[in-house]
């Protein structure tokens, strides 16, 4: 672990050095990005980088972007953000939860620079926050799984027991149980966002115990690949992963940051930028469903498409009461929907989830 830290620091500084050489001063707007992982992770950072590329494509010569990858959360990130701010960047996107306090500290020293922090919740005059409502997409995954699963058991390769992940698991099983009330989901924590070997092992264990649809909240395509080789279904995570399992891949929830980045940078250009909190889902286009695989029959496609349309139109909320925790406690009463506070702090499993929830 120590090595990983040293490595990321080392690489971060090197790349920062090269990146900053390319910064020119002039009429173009300078946009900086700070990434927590490598852009080659085919997951979280990969998608943010695609957003950056989209921004360059849409705004052409009006913007110039710089990115620094594999920046460790904490003190290092503060230095990197400060470097970007002091070298003439007008907008800086910091794309990991752990950059929250460093971003705020730097923002205080550079009041004329605009900051955008992903997945955080603290805002000041020149710091906005943004995140995506993946649970809307996971509702659709749950519906599809409820239809195509024969064993009635889903397997969930989970990373860490944080509200974001717990919310995804609950959204999936709640939707699946609308189709098949006996549906269950087995959860295995691999304690890593990224370890292809371990993710694959977890998927194998789940398949061995009867799961015939594999879901994941980890970043590598290994679980999809494992599902393909074992002849069961799977959903991709963050990106379309169909190239890793043509038959297994039912669909995926894709993170799409490009349009948001364009709108925010444009707002800076025309002076309308204000500190705001964005939590967009399917309707905002921040979450997108990947094309259906051959395993999704046309009747199920209709159900899934309708759910997407209903969520977009606001007719359907994935967390509509009655929702009880699996201990029997009523969390969302009949006729109401979960508020964002409950969603952001979700620390309970609903009925149908099997497996421990560490720390609860």
């Amino acid at each position: 672990m120590v090595m990983r830290v040293i490595l990321t620091r080392f690489c971060g500084l090197l790349i920062l050095g090269f990146g900053l050489m390319g910064v020119a001063f002039g009429d173009t707007l300078q946009v900086g990005f700070v990434y927590v992982g490598p852009i080659g992770d085919h997951g979280w950072t990969y998608q943010h980088n695609k957003g950056r590329e989209y921004l360059e494509k849409m705004l052409g010569s009006k913007v110039e972007t710089t990115y620094v990858e594999s920046v460790a959360e904490g003190g290092d990130s503060e230095r990197v953000i400060e470097q970007l701010a002091s070298s003439g960047h007008d907008v800086i996107f910091t794309t990991s939860f752990g950059y929250m306090n460093p971003t705020l500290k730097v923002a205080k020293r550079y009041p004329h620079v605009k900051f955008e922090h992903a997945t955080g919740f603290k805002r000041v005059k020149n710091v906005s926050t943004y995140n995506a409502r993946y649970y809307e997409g996971r509702h659709v995954l749950g519906l599809i799984a409820g239809h195509v699963s024969k064993s009635g058991v889903m397997g969930y390769v989970a990373s860490f027991p944080i509200p974001e992940v717990v919310r995804g698991i609950n959204a999936t099983i709640l939707a699946a149980r609308k189709i098949n009330p006996d549906m269950r989901v087995k959860v295995v924590w691999v304690n890593s966002w990224f370890d292809p070997g371990k993710e694959s092992d977890a998927a194998k264990a789940l398949i061995d115990q009867g799961a015939d649809v594999i879901l994941q909240h980890t970043d590598s395509p290994a679980p999809v690949q494992t599902a393909e080789s074992r002849g069961v279904y799977a959903f991709g995570q963050a990106s379309d992963m169909s190239s890793f399992g043509a038959d297994a891949h039912l669909t995926a929830i894709e993170n799409v940051w490009g349009p948001y980045y364009v709108s925010r940078v444009k707002a800076v250009m025309d002076g309308s930028w204000k500190s705001s909190d964005t939590w967009g889902g399917l309707e905002a286009g921040m979450v997108k469903m990947a094309p259906y695989g051959p395993g999704v029959p046309s009747s199920v496609r209709k159900v899934a498409d309708k759910a997407v349309a209903d969520i977009k139109a606001g007719r359907l909320h994935p967390f509509t009461g009655p929702i009880k925790s699996r201990d029997g406690e009523m969390k969302v009463p009949v006729g109401s929907v979960a508020d964002d506070g409950l969603l952001l702090g979700m620390d309970f499993f609903v009925e149908g989830v099997e497996g421990s929830l560490p720390g609860s």
Binding site: M1, M3, R4, I6, L7, F10, C11, G37, P38, G40, D41, H42, Y46, G155, K186, V187, V188, W189, V190, N191, S192, F194, D195, P196, G197, K198, S200, D201, A202, K204, A205, L206, D208, Q209, A211, S220, P221, A222, Q225, T226, S229, S243, F244, G245, E354, G355, S356, P358
Partner: protein, 304 residues
Amino acid sequence: MEEILISGLVTIVTASCPLIFAGVGEVVTERSGVLNLGVEGMMAMGAVGGFAVAHISGSADLGLLASIVCGMLLSLLFGFFTQYLLINQVVSGLSLTIFGLGLSALIGRDFVGFSGLGFPSLFPDFLRDIPVLGRVLFDYNYVVYLSLLSPFLVSWFLFKTRAGIVVRATGDNAEAAHSLGIRVVKVRMLSIMFGGGMAGLGGGYLSVIYTPLWVENMVAGRGWVALALVVFAAWRPILVLWGALLFGGIAIIQLNVQAFGLGIQAQYMTMFPYLATVLVLVVMSKRSIFQKSPRSLGRLFFAD
């Protein structure tokens, strides 16, 4: 239930392979008196080289060969630093890991997002169809059998052949070996290359066979576990095999236990290999029945 046990056993064996390869290779390196902490980096290079060549050539075998070469090339760099420039081995090894991880990421950029080729089992279908035993014994590809065999071959080499004695003599007392006319630097360079090739193969196994894909940092700490394994096994190749199966087994059982719905905190399981290693070190320091580390381990040598 039976199905779960069989399948779990198969997963344990296949998940342990990279640890066995890297661990056995490092045993030889350390037996010659060289401590190479760059296993993680060499595995990463093996993984990216193996995947890249398999992807371009369409041949998984060629990919595995390339992974061995990549691991070896990186270890040559380490050998040059420590044997010729006489730079501290710990520093060189750590640098090698940093360098290997960074370089593999750079090379691998164009290979992210592709799925690799399948890898066939060695034995024909009718053998695999034998109930229970068929799957446990015959359902692997030849690389798995090679990894299970390698500890025995290396053990025979180290303890039964003259060349093996030379390697151990170099590791136990380089000066004495030198005065007997053994070319210490040459022996150590060869041992370092063997360790590099085996680590590379372990990485290649991951990216070509186990999860046929390339993503950055996909070795995910297995190099460090292999290093712990060498100490755990008291520098004995056959104990490396059992240790790898034990470490791999605990990890797989833990995942299966979770899927059953029993709660054990996963962090304890992640700690296990290192705790076990510390425990073995404590036991070893008390008793002399176990051989201790090669006496020249980590010490630089130069002929006057």
